[in-house]
Amino acid sequence: MAKDKKITRRGFLHSATTLAIGAIGGTMIAKSSKDNTVWQIDPDKCTQCEKCATECVLPLSAVKCVHAYDVCGYCELCGGYSTSDATKLDTAAENQLCPTGAIKRTFIEDPYYEYSIDEEKCIGCAKCVKGCGAFGNGSLYLQVRHDRCVNCNECLIAKVCPSDAFVRVPAKKPYLLRGDQGQNT
């Protein structure tokens, strides 16, 4: 008799919980977004604080500098490439702003140079981004590279970013690019 009563009590709780879970689950699914999100940097909000280089869970940050070529002026004197106190505008290491020498400079035609990023070397410190934004067109900027990013549930860089530049963007449109690519994609 007592045993029967116990079973019904637990059985009742079981049914009640099933209903509750069904209700919560139903509401949740109705309210949830069908699109997954990934992390990305809004280049307009980024203040180049250099935290992206050190705060990523990956030993080599998934944040890299990218180059919007059609925004670039192809200058010989590049604020993103050379240090402000560079004695010569050459490729000598002491004249380069990038601490890892990740920016490749290629001569195109007089007086223009193309600058490209070697992602294997880039650590995402944004020193070049700062230089380019201060003296140039702002064609160098940081982006989360999705071939590297492990898309953590909560991004550790996002939590320390002082300017809220880390945002969740739809996985279908995972970049916030500058220049003509930014408008099209």
């Binding site: 070529y69 925004v71 002026g73 898309n151 953590c152």
Partner: protein, 429 residues
């Protein structure tokens, strides 16, 4: 007169030029190249096709849960569960890098509750709900072999030590506190601590800094000595699963038939989840037990109120974990001239166009959330504490060896010690 006008015009022009320059772009217009130079495109490598992989993940989770439930309740195959465990470590762990997982999805749920701007992605919602639903009907088969965190610890169970019951009982309160604080942190958008202190994710990612490596290594060593330490003494999701499992009508049984009380299974559970028959002689008289339960019943609302009150009073202290609240405090101190040094965050804040008032409103909103959350969390922890005492006081008459309805994780290690199981296997063969 004309000269002055010209001067004004020039000044205006300079200001306009400066303003235009501040805009950044187009200081140096793109050159017209004479050679046939082709401008490269910025590469944009896509993430894994997430919508497809999400479906695969949910399908794998569903299939895994179904298989684990059949293996633990119907087939009683320890070997099958073991293979499923290995598969889960390989797929959910190493292949999918252990993220997003059901354990962490609790925080997404709390974040969606506290922040209108955040929409819970469907796949995360399903990750959260599916194991709960399965556990409500088929016990904790999720823990046995599907959860990548549980699975990797299960593979480390070699020669575990027995944790004294008293210590185990005290430690088992930690998951409730962890669940509560992690939910509060996520609710207030202060960070995902479950993810941050996930000890095994570094193994799945196969890369970590020195500090994390030491942390992970420590957990691996402890896991060898104490079976599934994370599951038993930390896992916040396990709290919810425990409740579901308690309600579940189908549970893993040690014996396939009637228990003969041979005691052979007594020490077979490395997780201390076998309930022994209740002792014949009651340790105290019935009246004494009833009296204590009465006291505890009266204590429930009082303890809940006191701890809720205490935690809600800690709102300013607790809310300091939130970066926005910290920034607002720093900005206030700077404005009042109480601190000289500025921080990177405060300098960045001042360089942007958000006003101090907006920041203070935001900060106050979060502190308010902490106060309400503190009430809920305090009441919850108070209830848990009294209920733990309650469960120590309640004695159920029980004659057989049974699996613990809350803590059994359906791994099936006890089956092979049961002589009736041996008989069944021989009959089957």
């Amino acid at each position: 007169m004309k000269n002055i006008q010209l001067k004004h015009f020039l000044i205006l022009l300079t200001i306009l030029l400066i303003a235009f320059n501040l805009f950044g772009e187009d200081r140096f217009p793109k050159p017209e190249f004479e050679t046939d130079y082709q401008q490269p495109k910025t590469t944009a490598p896509l993430p894994d096709d997430s919508s497809f992989m999400d479906m695969v993940d949910i399908f794998a989770l569903f299939l895994g849960l179904t298989l684990a439930s059949i293996l633990s309740l119907k087939k009683r195959s320890r070997r099958g569960i073991f293979f499923l465990t290995v598969l889960s470590v390989l797929y959910f762990g190493f292949f999918r890098k252990g993220c997003v997982c059901s354990v962490g999805s609790v925080q997404n749920f709390a974040l969606a509750l506290g922040n209108v701007g955040y929409k819970l992605p469907l796949v995360v919602g399903l990750m959260f709900m599916l194991p709960l639903v399965f556990t409500l009907f088929f016990s904790r088969s999720f823990c046995s072999s599907i959860c990548p965190l549980g699975a990797i610890q299960d593979l480390l169970v070699f020669k575990p030590l027995k944790v004294p019951t008293s210590i185990s009982k005290v430690l088992s309160i930690i998951p409730y506190a962890y669940l509560g604080f992690a939910s509060l942190m996520a609710f207030t958008n202060s960070g995902f601590i479950i993810c941050r202190y996930d000890p095994f994710i570094n193994i799945f990612r196969l890369c970590a800094g020195l500090q994390q490596m030491i942390y992970t290594a420590a957990f691996v060593v402890v896991s060898v000595l104490i079976a599934r330490p994370y599951c038993r003494y930390l896992c916040p999701y396990g709290v919810l699963l425990g409740w579901m499992s308690w309600l579940s009508p189908r549970k893993v049984t040690i014996t396939p038939d009637e228990c003969i009380q041979c005691k052979l299974c007594e020490n077979s559970c490395p997780f201390d989840a076998i309930q022994k028959p209740s002792p014949e002689k009651a340790p105290e008289s019935r009246a004494e037990g009833t009296r204590r339960i009465g006291i505890l019943l009266v204590a429930i609302p009082i303890v809940m109120f006191i701890s809720g009150f205490a935690l809600s009073k800690l709102d300013t202290v607790l809310s300091r974990v939130n970066p926005t609240v910290r920034l607002a405090e720093q900005v206030r101190l700077e404005d009042e001239g109480l601190v000289k040094e500025t921080t990177l965050e405060s300098r960045t804040f001042r360089s942007q166009d958000k006003t101090t008032d907006e920041l203070m409103t935001e900060s106050n909103h979060i502190i308010n959330q902490f106060r309400i959350g503190g009430w809920v969390l305090g009441a919850f922890l108070g209830l848990v504490f009294v209920m733990k005492l309650f469960s120590l006081s309640i004695r159920r008459k029980q004659e057989d060896y049974i699996t613990d309805p809350v803590n059994c994780i359906s791994c099936g290690r006890c089956w092979e010690t049961c002589p009736i199981e041996h008989k069944r296997l021989k009959l089957d063969a």
